[in-house]
């Protein structure tokens, strides 16, 4: 499954070097090659400091690579855009906005295409306007507009209900628990309706119980919408449970060490963890990651 499909994001020999004054420059990424295909759930694991977040920031357009290229649908990534939603570990909710306003913020600046309507002078009814495209076909004339406030509220309501936070719309982030805050962040990411969802250790700060719950929720949502996901974690169990493909990265300088296709059927639940195949994948990935940890500790 993971070998087919359209390539959405292509990372080509990306290097990222942070210059350090009076010292050796930090090489965060050293020639990373990666192809992310449509409807894939990619998990990136690796020891801390292996440049996972740097890679995510480059895909998200928050940072530029020192050399090499990152493209989305063949276009170079020049900055952040609504085709890539990011969910941060620190939730990044606006503390001055309610849950509803926070989720609505995700759809504030994006535009969508709607047909141009015109009033027919004779009948007095609204009619669609048509035009001819370059092939000579008659097509409806479209225009780009922002979502109306009502549309945005409807979208927000849908995704708030999806993350099971109905009834909390008018609460402020300070009144929510960590797990609920992360649900709001996930709803906000989904409300963007982007092609790709980038998740930077979203469950890293949560307790084990809440994390399992949110993992299942994320799986349910992903199985429904099959949005391309790029998920960063340091939890080996988590990456095997969620991913259709696991990227193992090596410690500084960051490089792709190994790519593992996880051939476990969806839908998956926490019970999937008990299957022998899961254990195999887990042990294998753990071995690779742990070996790197031991190697880096020796130096």
């Amino acid at each position: 499954m993971s070998n087919e499909g359209k390539v959405v994001i292509k990372i080509d020999n990306v290097k990222k070097i942070y210059p350090v004054e009076n010292g050796d420059d930090v090489v965060a990424l050293n020639g990373v090659n990666l192809e992310i295909k449509e409807n894939e759930f990619i998990c990136v694991v690796g020891p801390s400091g292996c440049g996972k977040t740097t890679l995510l920031n480059i895909i998200g357009g928050l940072e530029q690579p020192t050399s090499g290229s990152a493209t989305i649908h063949g276009r170079p990534i020049l900055g952040p855009g609504p085709d890539r939603g990011i969910i941060f570990q620190q939730y990044a909710l606006f503390p001055w906005s309610t849950v509803k306003k926070n989720v609505m913020y995700g759809t504030k600046f994006i535009r969508h295409e709607v047909p141009v309507m015109k009033k027919n002078k004779e009948t007095g009814e609204m009619e669609q306007v048509y035009t001819t495209d370059e092939n000579g076909n008659t097509v409806p004339l479209m225009k780009k507009v922002k979502y109306t406030k009502l549309e945005r509220e409807a979208i927000a309501r849908k995704y708030i209900n999806m993350v099971q936070l109905g009834g909390f719309e008018n609460k402020y982030p300070k009144e929510l628990s960590g797990g609920m805050k992360q649900r709001v962040a996930i709803a906000r990411g989904y409300a963007l309706n982007s092609d790709v969802l980038l998740l930077d250790e979203p469950f890293g700060a949560l307790d084990a119980q809440t994390r399992s719950q949110l993992q299942e929720d994320l799986l349910r949502t992903w199985e429904k919408e099959r949005k391309t996901c790029f998920f960063i974690t340091h939890d080996v169990d988590e990456c095997v449970l969620l991913a259709s493909r696991v990227i193992i990265m090596s410690a500084r300088p960051g490089q792709v060490k190994e790519i593992v296709d996880i051939d476990l059927p969806y839908p998956r639940t926490q019970a999937t963890k008990l299957e022998p195949k899961f254990q195999e994948y887990r042990n294998h990935i753990w071995d690779v990651v742990y070996k790197m940890y031991v190697d880096s500790a020796k130096h």
């Binding site: 928050l62 952040p80 609504p82 939603g85 990044a92 606006f94 913020y105 504030k108 600046f109």
Partner: protein, 325 residues
């Protein structure tokens, strides 16, 4: 271009030489007994075997109270009552001292007692002079404060956002912050020919400095993940400013306003030192110079109460506007 690079290299070589020299100098100049004491201490630490240090004794007597006393559930009236007791205590001490002060230093010292001050208060209210003085001061404080608000907010935001602006204003702000307003009063009075402008300027300057520094810190404190998040949703710089920077700096603006009111009140006496016959600051200063302690103390109390009132108003506004905190 080539010259520039060689110059740069020369400079870095020079600076590393200076650093080296400084290290040698430091080593040579450190007295022998200091290095010896350091070495001795180091050896003593190394000689301790941590695994052989015995376990701490579970000594109830030294481990403090079982539970910290929790005052978070105190009702408001209790807090107010204790505050009142504090005020009464201070007035009591003042009252007693006013009676015994006559005997201190052989009768040359004295202090007006609370009833005398209260009498003057009633008298000044009845003849309307207090209202007159207060009105002048309120006007000066408000005008100076409002101009400071309007000017310090954009300056602080620009300083936090653009490095050249910061570089431009920072030396001035840091320099003026260290100078008590009393020092530059004569200069300002002379420059403004002693008009109302001088008073506004002195109050404005004090409030402006306080507020600029506070708001600047607030804007610098903006959570960068929020900025990143806004960018990923397609926000442009102006959206970012209105939607993220201003709301997250907003509590700091309100805190800065409260600190600014304090600064305005403390500079009032300096601002009204000369070039006027009206205002609470002038009144306090004048009565103090004439050794009319009763009037002077009354003026100070009215000034303080006025300050508390302004602060409380701002506090209520702050509570209302930042309920999300």
């Amino acid at each position: 271009m080539k010259d520039k690079n060689s110059l740069k290299e020369k400079f870095s070589a020079f600076s590393s030489k200076v650093k080296e020299g400084w290290n040698v100098f430091k080593k040579k100049c450190t007295p022998k007994f200091v290095t010896e004491a350091k070495e001795k201490r180091e050896n003593e630490i190394l000689a301790i075997d941590v695994s052989r240090i015995s376990k701490p004794v579970n000594d109830v007597a030294t481990s403090g109270p079982k539970k910290m006393k929790d005052f978070s559930l105190w009702p408001g009236w209790k807090t107010a009552l204790v505050g009142l007791v504090g005020v009464i205590f201070v007035i009591g001490v003042w009252w007693i001292y006013a009676y015994v002060a006559v005997d201190v230093q052989g009768g040359t010292s004295w202090l007006s007692s609370p009833p005398e001050v209260f009498d003057k208060f009633v008298e000044m209210i009845q003849n309307g002079r207090l209202r007159n003085h207060l009105w002048y001061s309120v006007q000066r404080v408000l005008v100076g404060f409002l101009i400071a608000c309007v000017t310090s907010i954009p300056v602080a935001f620009l300083m936090a956002w653009y490095k050249p602006v910061r570089a431009f204003f920072d030396p001035f702000v840091q320099f003026m912050r260290c100078i008590p307003p009393l020092a530059y009063v004569p200069i300002v009075v002379a420059a403004f020919a002693g008009g109302e402008g001088a008073k506004y300027f002195i109050i404005w300057l004090a409030v402006f400095l306080t507020m600029t520094v506070t708001i600047y810190q607030g804007v610098r404190n903006v959570d960068l993940t929020l900025v990143k998040a806004a960018y990923t949703f397609g926000a442009k710089d102006r959206h970012l400013f209105i939607g993220v920077i201003v709301p997250s700096a907003f509590p700091f603006i309100l805190t800065a306003m409260r600190l600014g009111v304090g600064a305005a009140m403390t500079t009032l006496v300096a601002a009204e030192m000369s070039g006027t016959q009206f205002g609470l600051g002038f009144f306090i200063n004048n009565q103090g110079n004439n050794l009319r302690l009763d009037y002077c103390i009354m003026g100070i109390i009215v000034l303080g109460l006025f300050g508390i009132l302004l602060d409380k108003i701002l506090l209520v506004i702050e509570k209302q506007l930042t309920r999300w905190k």
